[in-house]
């Protein structure tokens, strides 16, 4: 699979993953200083999932995201400057400061929104996929959701309906081992430990992959998306991964083994694994990757500076954008 990707593709994928990591790690630091408002859920550690899937998508393809949405946004091509400004609640933000971290959306990019309601995405993407099917435009819908969200009724209903209506829809389960403080070992006792088992019961192909391996995700997603584009219906992809920070910023993470993240950062980091894979096979030069790192660092730095300096929304904005007429 690796070798099916051009060097350009590899560099592009790496850049996305680095952007996500840098964006989130920086927000973590900024949050600690007390300048970032609201509830912030970071995606660090899960980069291979969003990127491995979204590298197959174009702007006509739709995704729906979650409370932990920054990674999906970046992977789907939402502007980083706008995102950072949005998270700071500024007029220059993607949503003019009215949405914040949990509601970043960019419909032109096919990004139907982060979402504050666990399990809200699957029905919405079923709708996006139904629209594709009716228009016969070959686009697909992808919904990202967590192990916790996998227990929400909306999710099950949408799985069944996607099969029933033969929708071009992909369910991407980000099993990061926790829903807030609760483990899927408790909340989704499927027996095998693979939540994807449930999807097969609904009559849909389902796989479980190493979500920290960009190439594994890329391959599974590619197959599913191709099938969906050709009218082959929905697929469920479970990606086993890990979040590096707390559920939200400020979470003391008392429910976690002490060294879990530390060890994962060393042994199982999706970016490190990507770097090792592509450099060991000589597909990409380490120096090129480092250049990207530098670029991204500068970009994120700039986004924070500009976000901080940007103006707040006008007070008149309070009363606009409710209906099309006001």
């Amino acid at each position: 699979m690796k070798t099916q990707l051009s060097k350009e593709d590899l560099l592009k994928a790496y850049r996305k993953m680095r952007e996500i990591r840098e964006f989130e790690d920086r927000l973590h630091k900024e949050f600690a200083t007390g300048t970032v408002p609201g509830f912030v859920h970071l995606y660090s550690g899960e980069e291979a999932v969003a990127t491995g899937v979204c590298e197959h998508l174009n702007d006509l393809d739709r995704i729906a995201s979650t409370h932990r949405g920054h990674g999906h946004c970046i992977a789907k091509g939402v502007d980083i400057m706008g995102m950072m400004a949005e998270i700071y609640g500024k007029k220059t933000g993607t949503c003019g400061g009215k949405g914040g971290s949990m509601h970043i959306a960019d419909l032109d990019k096919g990004m139907l929104g982060a979402n504050g309601i666990v399990g809200a995405g699957p029905p919405l993407i079923a709708g996006a996929a139904l629209a594709s099917k009716l228009r016969k435009d070959g686009s697909v819908g992808v919904v990202f959701f967590g192990d916790g969200a996998s227990n929400q009724g909306t999710n099950f209903e949408s799985m069944n309906m996607a099969v029933t209506l033969d929708l071009p829809m992909i369910f991407v389960l980000e099993n990061n081992g926790y829903a807030e403080s609760t483990s899927p070992n408790y909340s989704a006792k499927v027996g095998t430990g693979n939540i994807a088992d449930r999807a097969r019961g609904f009559g849909m192909p389902a796989v479980t992959v190493d979500g920290n391996d960009f190439f594994a995700v890329y391959e599974a997603a590619g197959e599913a998306i191709e099938r969906a584009r050709k009218g082959g219906g929905p697929t469920y992809i479970e990606c086993k991964t890990m979040r590096y920070f707390g559920h939200f910023e400020g979470d003391a993470q008392t429910y976690r083994p002490k060294n879990e993240v530390k060890e994962a950062r060393v042994n199982d980091c999706p970016l490190n694994r990507f770097v090792a894979a592509v450099t060991s096979e000589g597909l990409v030069d380490a120096a090129e990757l480092e250049a990207i790192d530098k670029d991204v660092l500068a970009l994120v730095e700039k986004s924070v500076q500009e976000a901080k300096a940007a103006p707040q929304p006008d007070l008149a904005d309070l009363m606009t954008g409710v209906y099309v007429s006001y």
Binding site: G99, P123, L130, L134, Y323, V324
Partner: protein, 345 residues
Amino acid sequence: MARKIMFKDAINEAMRLEMERDESVFLIGLDVAGGAGTATLDKERDSWGGVLGVSKGLYPLFPDRVIDAPISESAYIGAAVGASACGMRAIGELMFSDFMGVCFDQLYNQAAKFRYMFGGTAVTPVTIRTMIGAGFSAAAQHSQSPYSMFAHVPGLKCIIPSNPYDAKGLLAASIQDDDPCVFFEHKALYTMKGEVPEEHYVIPLGKANVVREGNDVTIVALGRMVQFAEKAAKKLAKDGIECTIIDPRTISPMDWDAIYSSVEKTGRLVVVDESYDVCGVASDVVGHVTQDVFGALKAAPQMVTAPFVPTPFAANLEAAYLPDPAKIEAAVRKTIQAKCAATVA
């Protein structure tokens, strides 16, 4: 004289015309074609056409765009919302509005809020059609009119037609409207006949209909209650009491101008709603009128609503539960007899 058709056929016609005019319009719901997966559903023939036959005949015309869903309201109502955020104009049929509780999130947190949360960029032209109303011995879970809960949500529009003509024009307007619309159909009106032009027309959302004009009392009545108000008004007219009847047609947005200017003329207000007064449309109208045109009021406004109990099954209890012309008449008389005891500060 124009053709007379039933309320439910007017709704059917509005859907048909919109689907003809616009390829992005589709209908999804339970049994809206009917017979899916059975031997009898072919592209020439639907089976049920919806539980009370309202969409009968549409499936053969638009076999791809009349879609039966599994009994998974969150999924299919949410899909109507999602598809509409992606350029379609979905009509989602929530069979009975009583079922809102299994899918409300997709309407009140998703459809209603997209535009605002996303900084004014989203357009979600979804229309939800759903049945309301008591009077059929359908008991507590199939007789409700929970529209005030929807009206409480900024971002939704709420439409309540009271006759076949309005049903057709308001539904066309709802489907064409770029905001999420919830269209409440009173099941007792489905067989009501009225003049309905064959051609396409729309009735603008947010404009009340002044059904009758009179100088003594303003009656604001919703949906099926409009007929009851008319009966009461006719009776009162015999005693020289002349009522204005306002049918708001949409309760969100509410046409306050029409209501306020009428109350400014009559000084008296009766609101008739078959739902509850508690945090409902009746107290909403009285509350806003009082805040905004207090000086015009000559007497205490009155609410004629269902009592604050679930809808009972037994026919005699259900009859006692519903507002009726006699109750409306009594409320009007109360506003006429009352002397304003308000003292000037």
